[in-house]
Subunit: 365 residues, 4 copies
């Protein structure tokens, strides 16, 4: 039967993917408590609907980092998408183009960024702070040449999160997904038990990354600079002071530091600290149009979507389109039922925290 | 064995009804989290009993929208009741007549309102804001002619809630329940997968409904105008300013916007905002006399009952009578044990919120 | 194996008793939510132990309603104890005598009070407000003649609680437990389905009971008058104003009004309202020495024990002794570990409410 | 497969140990609610990570009671370690030496302290307040001769906790673990049902212990005096006034008073009361590097580890090393991900309490 929800799509992906690939995608760090909390805290936010406000033609349109978007949604940067489907990033970018939303190219993309640019999708380029600084420069140049609209530096990867599933699975990337030095590093890392992705990633990341580097990066590029992975309000304030163009409140979908609060729980203090000096996007745990509306009601400027896209990608471009159309339909539905003709209205919704709902079980999706 | 509680009656209905009819009746929108929260939040309200107050003859009598009622209860508007039992609305109206409580005729009644008027029950007429405005006028005229005591405009139906059960069941109304244009529309909608009720409903509802229309409606009829489906205190205040005669705090029994707070959770702020300018009724999730007393203790003017009536209707008029007599007996019991000789005393009960109770499992009823 | 806890004793009783007798004893009213909440709220009270306070010889001694008691515990009034064991109240009274604690004789005792007086136990006499006022007078006279030290009027029985287990079980007392008019009434009530105890009880209780009757009662007897079944702080204040000698914060072990708060939750506000004008005892849900210490730490003057006594009674006098010795041992243990050499020290313990504990499952005991 | 977490190690130990030894080690007092709460309350503390702070070389080094330590961790005093593995305390001390952390020798050590001193590990000597005061003096002398750096008086053992598992198991120590009077006492106690350890322990502990004895003890030794087992802030303030050199906030891992709050819950008030007059260590329920960081973030000076060490000890010295290296690796991981280059930074982390997480089930570890 046609999937009606992201959960349906996830369940389908769970049966289609190799178990260790599924684990790599859906899993989180440590006890996966942050993974779970992202879901629980979202579910407990109740939005109080408004009525009698003419919602015959609700519009989900907005602007994300200066570019118009058909919904307040972008695809989050995710590595090695050809792991899920041979068309990988290409399929996702095409679906984004059609849906009218930005696609963030991972620093560990398994498809060259120029091929993705050819799809016509709005692209953002994600950076990791590689020890090999030349590679950072290269990524920047490629991003600018590919016409990317923003550079998204992920600041929550001083090292790989302790993802127990991958370690227990001795998880290794199939050959052919990475290129150049990465391919060699991964191959080398793959010869011992444990997660070879983790081992390789740890060798290439530069944990020295600090605010001085942000200044350097800003001077290095004409593109707007976005910091992804902020949770503490003091860091958000610093980001605003350093003049970054946007931040993404993220706990990397519970994949890095198990012990972090949920992002939706962290959002209000971050918004306070930023005080409108730059847009505040959010990700981690968003699984429905209702979840997206929750973020907008609390004041986010937009939502990045991670795993739901990869679940859809199991079905290639059509699958990603399905995910996006489910989310769009759900968002429209939620807006209509809450009396929001547009997203400005969403920001005015009242919300209450319920503790009456059972926490989600260490969840499938 | 004789059912002792509404849950007993629900369990009996669950076995008697076709699975997809059961799903249509008991189900809610989305993840059914609002459905669940309605129950949990009620259960966690603890009423502190008073003692030594002569409760030999407790009275449940009250006045609802100006008409005396034997208990602070009315039957909520519910569409297509012949789906449950051949006697449909007629059986319910007769049981209401006998129990001395009002019956709200749905805009989508499967029995003509004049036949219901013949039962002698106190009738209220529910309206939906149909795109076909003539039909609204027609319903108004019929309501007045049938001697209805109030018009209840449901303002939470800009579109049909995303009821996944019905969509998965390809739920279609059996022929013969609806009449005229509706019958044709439903038949047409029934030829594709998904919920044909949802598809049809969406085509007939006018999502443009707004406060101007309320003014129009008030001018259109001499009957008291009630708005059903208010949750935000700001809307409640607006309703009072617009001079409506009553409001019903309702989330449509969790059938429309999954993500809404419980109605009992929303009630206090609504009461504050209304500040006695009009009566505030409530529905959604009430399953016992104790639940009814909870609403009265928190300041509601009365409770509308939805599904419990339909569960009883499985047994026709006698079944509805059973439901109502269980509720009346439970209400009397709760009043007696809390020292309330009448409903004014109920409003003076102290209540505390407990978080010690397990949330109800995504519940059967 | 020797039972170590009241739960062990309850489990043993559950296997020994006829299922419908077990249900009558352990069950509560309605959904048994108050029954459950009594347990959950107690479990969530954490006592902060003191150290270095010489607890080599902790003493559990205290005074209850003016009489010395070996622990701050009395047996609660419970009807028809010969239902559990042929020696019924006699066995319990003997165990109380030996343990040095008061025994409250139920108004519905299945053993004449003069026989109980012969055990030498400290007796309190519980009254219900029977429509047959002569019977109340008779109970008073008997109580005084039997040397009772107090009269305990239960004010939470305007009618019998809706105990669904008993109704579903068509629960009837075996002949020979009640005497006189009661025996006849019970026999008559026993011929129809449902709970015949409930039916009979409802015919004999006078729901007109009010504060005027308290004045009458106080004039009628020289014994201290105790009101059992207070939960609202306003009623507690009234009781103090009316000069009663003590109150018992009780929800009748969850057997009367399902919907009430836990007694331990209600205690602090009651204590505030009473402001030391009379002792405040408590019951409902106490199952361990630790629970008893919790009540004392929160300011109670003593604890009445209900079901744990009846569970022990399955083994006759020895069984009740076992229950009492388990509780005494646990109380001593808890006092020692919290640095309380006596019960005055207990009142000085700090407590915190934890919400981290799973609510007890709708519990066996 | 290599254990990745303390839980893995615990599960392995659960299969290796005799059931009644496992119960003795992992179990707690009473209902084990304090045992459970220690875990739940820790899990619900969410640490808000900082970013962009150069964590290329995070250091876990600190000073514990004046001695440098490679991590803010010491092994808690635990009796009779040869119960777990023939090498007992020797294996643990060696692993501590290698890991660069202190080992606390239990007053009931099954290996003479001079043999442990020979390992070169930093030793602390734990005392119980034995009725046989000569033995206390002897332990002190031995401790000083063995070069111990501190004396840790456990003040939460006025009597043995009610550990139901041990009582039900008739738990008896195998011969040969204890020496001298203890061996004789244990043998004598072992002849009856119930826990012979409990029976024996109760005979040797002096419950008269009070603050005067602390003064005596301080005069008796040149070593720093630490009080272990403080939970109430008033006792913490007294300890500071009495000039003790450190305190350990402990509920003895839930083994003594079931009903106590979690230690992490008690810590903030204790820190307030102590106001930096002495270091405040903590133990009970710590199972991961993340848990350790939680304590440091809340202001603790270090963490004592109990059961995780014994679980590892099942594999002898290597097993303990494994436990310690898992914890060290997790701590480094947590520090890196929260932007803490050293432990001073940890104290500056923001934390939030989540109630969204399911309480741990009455847990295995
Ligand atoms: C398989 C996978 C790979 C990811 N790879 C990257 C990456 O290369 N760079 C990055 O910044 N974030 C990466 N992320 C994190 C996402 O950008 C995003 O923060 C996270 O997925 C959001 O949570 P959600 O999956 O619950 O929506 C990855 C996430 C997943 C699931
Ligand atoms: C089967 C069904 C049909 C309904 N039809 C209508 C309707 O036609 N008009 C309306 O205003 N509300 C309708 N409702 C909502 C009810 O009026 C009411 O708000 C809701 O049932 C209250 O929640 P409860 O079922 O938990 O008591 C319907 C509810 C059910 C269960
Ligand atoms: C089987 C049974 C019979 C009882 N009968 C009486 C009674 O005759 N009079 C009365 O005042 N309370 C009666 N009670 C209530 C007890 O006095 C007491 O309030 C209650 O049992 C306390 O709760 P617990 O059982 O959880 O300890 C009865 C309780 C039980 C369980
Ligand atoms: C088997 C065992 C034996 C113990 N023996 C002692 C002891 O002899 N002296 C002492 O002060 N604490 C003793 N403890 C308590 C520990 O020092 C420590 O407070 C507790 O284990 C910390 O909790 P955790 O096990 O959850 O880490 C013992 C604990 C265990 C598990």
């Amino acid at each position: 039967q046609t999937p009606l929800t992201v959960d349906d799509i996830a369940q389908w992906a769970a049966t289609e993917l190799e178990p260790e690939v599924w684990d790599f995608v859906c899993g989180g760090a440590g006890d996966e408590s942050t993974l779970q909390l992202n879901r629980t805290d979202l579910a407990n936010i109740r939005l109080v609907p408004r009525v009698l406000r003419d919602v015959a033609h609700p519009s989900t349109h907005t602007t994300l980092l200066g570019t118009p978007a058909a919904m307040p949604v972008a695809v989050a940067p995710m590595a090695y998408q050809r792991l899920i489907h041979p068309h990988g990033e290409l399929a996702v970018a095409r679906a984004c183009k059609r849906a009218g939303i930005p696609f963030t190219v991972s620093a560990l993309t398994s498809t060259p960024i120029d091929q993705l640019a050819a799809t016509g999708a709005t692209l953002w380029a994600q950076l990791y702070w590689f020890t090999d600084r030349a590679r950072v420069g290269e990524l920047l140049t490629q991003a600018e040449q590919a016409g990317c609209r923003a550079v998204v530096l992920s600041v929550d990867m001083p090292r790989m999160g302790r993802r127990l599933r991958d370690i227990r699975n001795d998880f290794t990337l199939p050959a052919g997904l990475a290129s150049g030095a990465d391919a060699a590093g991964l191959a080398a890392a793959g010869t011992r038990p444990g997660s070879s992705i983790a081992r390789h990633t740890d060798t290439i990341m530069d944990a020295q990354l600090n605010w001085d580097d942000i200044e350097w990066l800003s001077r290095q590029t004409v593109l707007p600079v976005v910091l992804k992975g902020i949770l503490d309000a003091r860091d958000a304030a610093l980001a605003a002071e350093f003049g970054v163009d946007a931040i993404v409140v993220s706990n990397h979908g519970g994949r890095q530091f198990d012990g972090a609060p949920s992002t939706i729980g962290a959002l209000p203090a971050v918004l306070d600290a930023v005080a409108d000096r730059c847009p505040v996007l959010i990700d981690s745990g968003f699984r429905s149009g209702l979840d997206i509306l929750r973020a907008m009601a609390l004041g986010a400027g937009g939502v990045l979507l991670g795993r739901p896209i990869l679940y859809g990608l199991v079905g290639g471009e059509r699958g990603v389109e399905l995910t996006l159309s489910v989310l769009r339909e759900e968002l429209l539905d939620a807006m209509t039922h809450t009396g929001c003709a547009d997203l400005r209205a969403a920001a005015d919704l009242a919300s209450v925290i319920s503790e009456g709902l059972l926490p989600a079980p260490a969840a499938l999706t």
